[in-house]
């Protein structure tokens, strides 16, 4: 450690950091080689040897070793908007923009109270829905059957969360009820839903339910599937909120009781605000997981972004370009999921510091 005296030279610093022992040196060399190799390979494939323009068709890609981004250039509208009418694509794009704005706004602590968050999410949802569906301001009506691609993914996510959140609060409150039968039965419901795979629930709601229900009670397949997804979300989110409630000291409710505050107000004004704050990092995490899980809708036959991606390379002359299409879809998911989960981790750290 003599190199640490005074200002160590860069060389000495490198030595203590990466080559202090034989094991450390081997680890450094292996890690560096892997990182360098991957970085070079990916850069070479994705940038240096890639074809970006679809002007020359798929044939141009066959001549090079790198990525064929031409497929994205040629098919990006299909991937993002699915079968949505071509001249109305701006609506679908704008609707997704609204949701991005909404997400950013909800990350600002300034809006962290029940009223603002509700206004942002319900307002955002309505804006999204009417932009997509049309029928007002002279926009032609586009039915849900024609929605697809990224905006369908976003719609599924939004509706799941908007229906699931109130349900999860209700379930969490019932679960912590003092009445043993109520909390017991709710516990069974929550645990059962949680131990089932989401896919089986989606399958049961979207595919199986119409066999069991008379026609008038079946409703639209998309909304049935979303209901199942919301139920699944609520079962997980209920446990997160319950965890947040357990973090609120018992004395808080006792103090409110001793002041004569009744149940509804105790929950609204005392318990929930504190529980939400405790549960915030886990909640963000759950939102991220839910967004990722919307991709399962492809399996029960919806044309969301993954399905439109499959269609983008599955037809015509682009069948060889699957890696590029999946990379593009992965990148869209990654951008959303990574930034949100980083934000969640940041909040968690900040709250840890705040508690000390």
């Amino acid at each position: 450690m003599t190199g640490d005296m005074g200002r160590p030279s860069i060389l000495a610093m490198l030595r203590t950091r990466y080559f202090s022992t034989l094991g450390n040196a081997i680890l450094s060399i292996i890690s560096f080689s892997i990182l360098a190799l991957i970085t070079w390979k990916v850069l070479d494939w994705a940038v240096f040897s890639a074809v970006f323009s679809a002007a020359n068709g798929p044939e141009a890609c066959k001549a090079v070793d790198g990525a064929c981004w031409a497929v994205i250039d040629a098919r990006w509208r299909l991937i993002l908007f699915g079968l949505y009418p071509h001249e109305e694509h701006w609506r679908s794009g704008l609707a997704c923009g609204v949701v991005v704005l909404m997400t950013v706004l909800s990350c600002l602590p300034y809006f962290w109270n029940g009223r603002s968050i509700s206004i942002i999410w319900i307002g955002g949802f309505l804006a999204f829905y009417f932009l997509m569906k049309g029928g007002i301001f002279g926009m032609p009506v586009v039915d849900e059957q024609r929605w697809g691609g990224l905006s369908l993914t976003v719609f599924i996510f939004l509706t799941t969360v908007l229906v699931g959140t109130p349900l999860s609060i209700l379930l969490a409150l019932l679960r912590r009820s003092e009445l043993p039968w109520i909390s017991g039965v709710t516990g069974i419901i929550i645990d059962s839903v949680r131990s089932l795979p989401l896919l089986t629930i989606l399958f049961a709601f979207a595919v199986v339910l119409p066999f069991l229900l008379p026609d008038w009670a079946s409703g639209d397949k998309l909304y049935r599937a979303i209901l199942g997804s919301a139920l699944f979300f609520a079962a997980y989110q209920a446990e997160i909120i319950r965890g947040g409630m357990q973090g609120v000291p018992k004395g808080q409710e006792e103090a409110a009781k001793s002041l004569g505050v009744r149940y509804r107000h105790r929950i609204q004004r005392i318990l929930l605000p504190q529980a939400f704050k405790n549960a915030l990092p886990a909640t963000i995490n759950q939102f991220v997981i839910t967004f990722k899980e919307t991709s399962l809708f492809i399996i029960i036959g919806f044309f969301e972004i993954l399905a439109s991606g499959n269609a983008a390379y599955g037809t015509g002359n682009w069948t060889f370009a699957f890696v590029e299409v999946y990379a593009f879809i992965a990148l869209i998911y990654f951008a959303f999921v990574f930034s949100l989960s980083r934000y969640g981790a940041f909040l968690e750290r900040r709250m840890d510091v705040g508690d000390q």
């Binding site: 808080q252 004569g260 009744r262 605000p273």
Partner: protein
């Protein structure tokens, strides 16, 4: 009807169980209006449980409790009525951390008494002045010292204008130098004629303001007497033993 003053609290033959463990045994207690009572006893003797039964934070299993003439029974309206008229101050303050001091005090009057915000906040400020911290009204509880927090908690209870105040070891969680500021407030409340039941180990306070001191052990009321008699001439052996431990005699 003759204009007799009815007792603030009447407890008759009350029993309280946690499962098979009996926490309170056959409690009889009458508290007149304006009376100041100090309850003491070793830990686990049931003194906190007793006052928590009075505003139904804990349910009792048998016997009768009536507060200001309202019986504490299965009727929810009665429980609400009693909680409106009985305030409580806790060992750990239990202030609402997500609200300012003023919001803490004005919340219940607005929700329960349905006062408009302006009136609730004006009254709250009055009580914050009474406990001598009006200048902290816009701060959050986490920014105050323990003694200040407990005084806010007292102001919060007072803001509901209760007729009876229950104190559950209000100074036990405080650093020694902050105890006196809280006790001063309690003494001044006592001098205003507030009906008070205090579970506390502050024997100086008991001597100074109590009309009656109650000693509890193992869920029973062992002895109750005015302070001079209680401290000067304790009757029961367990009382003597407790006093010698706590007073160091």
């Amino acid at each position: 009807m003759t204009q007799t003053v009815e007792p603030a609290i009447i407890i008759r033959g009350m029993n309280k169980f946690y499962g098979s463990f009996q926490a309170l045994k056959n409690i009889d207690l009458t508290v007149e209006q304006g009376e100041r009572i100090v309850i003491c006893g070793p830990s686990g003797s049931g003194k906190s449980t007793l006052i928590r039964c009075i505003n139904h934070l804990e349910a009792h299993q048998s016997g009768d409790i009536a507060v200001l003439g309202t019986p504490l029974d299965n009727n929810i309206a009665n429980i609400d009525e009693i909680r409106r008229e009985v305030g409580m101050v806790f060992q750990h303050f239990n202030l609402f951390p997500h609200m300012t001091v003023l919001e803490n005090c004005a919340l219940a009057p607005m929700l329960v008494r349905k006062w408009p915000r302006a009136k609730a906040e004006e009254m709250a400020m009055q009580y914050l002045e009474k406990v001598k911290i009006p200048d902290q009204a816009e701060k959050f509880p986490g920014q105050l010292s323990g003694g200040q927090q407990q005084r806010v908690a007292i102001a919060r209870s007072l803001s509901m204008q209760p007729k009876v105040l229950l104190f559950d070891e209000p100074t036990s969680a405080l650093d020694p130098e902050m105890i006196s500021e809280v006790l001063d407030v309690m003494v001044s409340l006592a001098n205003d004629g507030m009906t008070m039941l205090c579970v506390t180990h502050e024997m100086g306070f008991a001597r100074q303001v109590a009309d009656r001191v109650i000693f509890m052990d193992e869920g029973e009321i062992i002895e109750q007497n005015p302070p001079e008699e209680f401290f000067g001439n304790p009757q029961n052996e367990r009382t003597q033993q407790f006093l010698s431990q706590i007073l160091g005699r």
